[in-house]
């Protein structure tokens, strides 16, 4: 066996390359641990948590069993379907289950943790790399929720692909010479990754723009000489974006119509929105930032859970911590002599700032979904935190450790809460009750119907196709026409409502108004199941 003597080590890569190699080991180990913990958690939180997650699983089933080839998420032709194809492969290997459904986000999430370790190392040294990987592995509640559930085109994929773009930008910007043919593979890879990411989720543009600005800031003196390489990178774009291009070319460029719709000011229920209203600002600061920074759980906000559930002192401290980090970054940028030249930390700040700015032209009003669209901002927090701690407390190990520890405590608190709170609906209990009653065709709200389809492996066909069966839904949630048609042809469909919502009560009143007899059961203490109607209830508006 050949071994290297001390003298031979001079032959090993030195400087940044050596550090980079060392930077991989600890993050790899941490990523592996995070993967194992999440695997366990994904088995515990069963069945599927939401309609969104169920649709990803149903798409994967249809890809595998029925030969469907969806290009986009059902009903949302701007979210790429890649996740469902990967999941279909996992289903083929391991069978259909909620835990297997979550393997794909787990895979991308591990990549995100790994890249955070690498980027942290590049930003502020090996210790920062390890700390960033740890903070990414136990991310903010927003990261934990969005990145660990299968959401078909968001969450984990967005974080991984976006962070990959940041890493590529760093590599590219580091070239201390004109870009030439040696860099062409990297440039082409950049183009492919960007195109592929844009197909998966348009929000990745926040990362793309940050990466582009960073590279431009670093290499603007070499811009002319680099142009051929950039042109090659541009060629990679359509390659990665090919699925979206193929579909859109034959479907009236509908994905772009959607983007134009939300940018055009008509996406809000209240009509056109000015760029910045006080209500919009209030929701960005009060709900968006609070959840994105990790002080509140996104889901708790939507469920209107009282503030007492957040850790009171830590929540306030978090906002202060990141505000201070931003201030330190600004001060350091202004102080540097070569302030025109981008620094790696700029990448992180650019993502955060661009993500916030992206809300200004959007038409989402105060009633629109906001928190999940701050995922890129939340995703770069581990890097922001370690950069700030290294910058201010590098030699005070105890304080440095305390900072990391408090961030982990905050995130761990929410992680434990999400694991113990379990799933949104006890869909399995509902499925088995319906099957025992011989009810296999069901109208229900979006958050009940599709999880029911997945939990029953489509022995029960449920859909939110009935007019306003989902009384609280903002948009039409009927996502899969095949189910709709099956229900329209069904002899004796049942209607299922969340017992806490008014819709079930309204439905009962409407049935009474039409003189329709029915039976109603409370199932699993959460559902109202109407069935056995004396006349067809489909015409009954809710």
């Amino acid at each position: 066996m050949t071994t290297l003597s001390r003298a031979d080590t001079s032959a090993l890569p030195s400087g940044p390359a050596r550090i980079a190699s060392a930077n991989w080991r600890a993050p790899l180990f941490i990523a592996a641990c995070a993967l194992l913990v999440r695997l366990l958690a994904d088995v515990v939180v069963d069945p599927v948590a939401s309609g969104d997650e169920a649709i990803t699983g149903l798409m994967a089933r249809h890809i595998l069993l029925f030969g469907e080839r969806p290009y986009f998420y059902y009903g949302q032709d701007y979210l790429g379907s890649f996740e469902s194809y990967v999941t279909a492969g996992f289903f083929a290997l391991f069978g259909f289950s909620t835990a297997v459904l979550r393997l794909t986000p787990l895979l991308f999430f591990s990549g995100y943790v790994l890249l955070n370790g690498w980027l942290g190392g590049r930003l502020a040294g090996p210790r920062a790399g390890v700390a960033a990987a740890v903070l990414a592995a136990l991310g903010t509640p927003l990261i934990q929720y969005q990145a660990h559930m299968a959401f078909g085109g968001s969450g984990a994929e967005l974080l991984f692909l976006g962070t990959a773009q940041l890493a590529l930008a760093l590599r590219l910007a580091d070239r201390e010479r004109r870009l030439d043919r040696r860099d062409y593979p990297l440039l082409l890879a950049c183009g492919v990754v960007i195109g592929f990411s844009l197909w998966i989720h348009f929000l990745v543009a926040v990362y793309t723009l940050a990466a582009a600005l960073y590279v431009a800031g670093r290499r603007w003196r070499r811009l002319i000489g680099d142009l051929p390489a950039y042109a090659l990178g541009a060629l990679g774009l359509p390659l990665g974006f090919a699925p979206a291009l193929l579909w859109n070319a034959q479907n009236g460029w509908r994905s772009f119509a959607f983007l134009s719709f939300i940018l055009g000011g008509s996406g809000s229920a209240a009509g056109g929105e000015p760029l910045l209203t006080s209500a919009k600002l209030a929701i960005i600061m009060g709900e968006g930032l609070v959840a994105a920074l990790g002080a509140r759980n996104d889901w708790d906000l939507w469920l209107a859970v009282p503030w007492e559930t957040a850790l009171p002192l830590l929540s306030g401290a978090l906002v202060f911590f990141y505000a201070l980090a931003l201030g330190v970054w600004l001060a350091s940028r202004l102080r540097q002599a070569a302030w025109r030249r981008s620094q790696p930390a700029d990448l992180v700040a650019l993502v955060a700032v661009l993500n916030l700015l992206a809300f200004l032209p959007l038409s989402f009003g105060p009633e629109g979904p906001i928190v999940r669209y701050l995922l890129p901002l939340s995703g770069v927090l581990p890097l922001a935190a370690v950069w700030f701690l290294e910058k201010t407390l590098a030699r005070r190990r105890w304080l440095y450790g305390l900072g990391i520890g408090l961030l982990l405590l905050n995130n761990g608190y929410f992680a434990a809460a999400s694991l113990t709170s379990g799933t949104l609906y006890p869909t399995r209990a509902l499925a088995s009750w319906l099957e025992s009653a011989g009810l296999t065709r069901v109208y229900a709200g979006y958050w009940i119907a599709y999880p029911l389809d997945f939990a029953s492996q489509e022995r029960i066909i449920a859909s939110p196709a009935h007019t306003r069966v989902d009384v609280d839904a903002l948009i039409d949630m009927d996502r899969y026409q095949a189910y709709t048609e099956l229900l329209e042809n069904a002899q004796d469909p049942a209607f299922v409502f969340d017992r806490r919502l008014a819709a079930g009560r309204i439905f009962a009143q409407r049935l009474a108004g039409h003189g329709i007899a029915y039976q109603v059961d409370v199932v699993a203490d959460r559902f109202l199941v109407f069935h056995c109607f004396s006349a067809n209830p489909r015409g009954v508006a809710i």
């Binding site: 469907e68 890649f82 082409l188 890879a189 990754v193 011989g438 948009i475 969340d498 003189g515 069935h531």
Partner: protein, 213 residues
């Protein structure tokens, strides 16, 4: 391994595999009028999961009540039991299924009343109506027939959480005369037996506000 090489090796094959996947089966998914992709959808029930049962209408068979009773009223009407979700938050509604059985065809058309009573025996919530949402009048009941009769009881948000008793009974709409109670049961008002299980009113719960992507 350098990052560029890693990404290069990871993404290009993935893209190639995806391209192959989507191009293999041929045509693009068909779309319905609303633009939802149908793929290669064949609309038959056996396409999804296991073959489905042939609509045995099992759900219409009245199941056994969660709480069996034998409370006899005049005119051969028996209250055979009930289903009640005991714990219910205020600001929502409770669902009570009563199981009526006629010993013989009743001689009159009766309404059913359900009262929720506080500690001072005052009615704080109620539901009155002909059985089964008005779709099953007692005059049409056959001997031996079991009628499952659902009642929705609205619980105002300002009610105090706690334990409340429920009384039920039958009466004639015109005269308001209640049907006599023959079985000895605890009562608060005449001919209105108290159900053995009180209902537990819980504090109000937050109303979920759902959205998708």
């Amino acid at each position: 391994m350098h990052l560029a090489a890693l990404l290069w090796r990871l993404f290009l094959p993935l893209t190639a595999i995806f391209g192959l996947l989507v191009s293999l089966p041929g045509p693009l998914p068909a779309l319905n009028a609303a633009g939802v992709p149908l793929g290669q959808v064949i609309l038959s029930s056996s396409r999804f999961g296991q073959p489905l049962p042939k609509a045995p209408a099992l759900s219409c068979v009245a199941p056994k009540p969660q709480r069996a009773l034998s409370v006899q009223f005049d005119d051969a009407i028996l209250l055979a039991g009930y289903d009640l979700t005991i714990a219910t938050p205020v600001g929502s509604f409770a669902v009570l299924n009563l199981y009526w059985q006629a010993g013989a065809p009743p001689s009159a058309d009766y309404k059913v009343f359900v009262h929720v009573l506080d500690a001072e025996r005052k009615v704080i919530a109620q539901d009155d109506g002909y059985p089964v949402n008005g779709a099953s009048h007692t005059l049409g009941w056959q001997a031996g027939q079991v009628v499952r009769d659902a009642h929705f009881i609205d619980l105002e948000p300002d009610l105090a959480p706690g334990s409340y008793q429920i009384e039920v009974g039958l009466y004639q709409e015109g005269s308001g005369k209640r049907l006599g109670l023959l079985t000895e049961m605890p009562t608060v008002s005449p001919d209105a037996p108290l159900l053995p299980d009180p209902i537990q009113l819980l504090p109000p719960v937050a109303r979920p506000k759902w959205t998708s992507h």
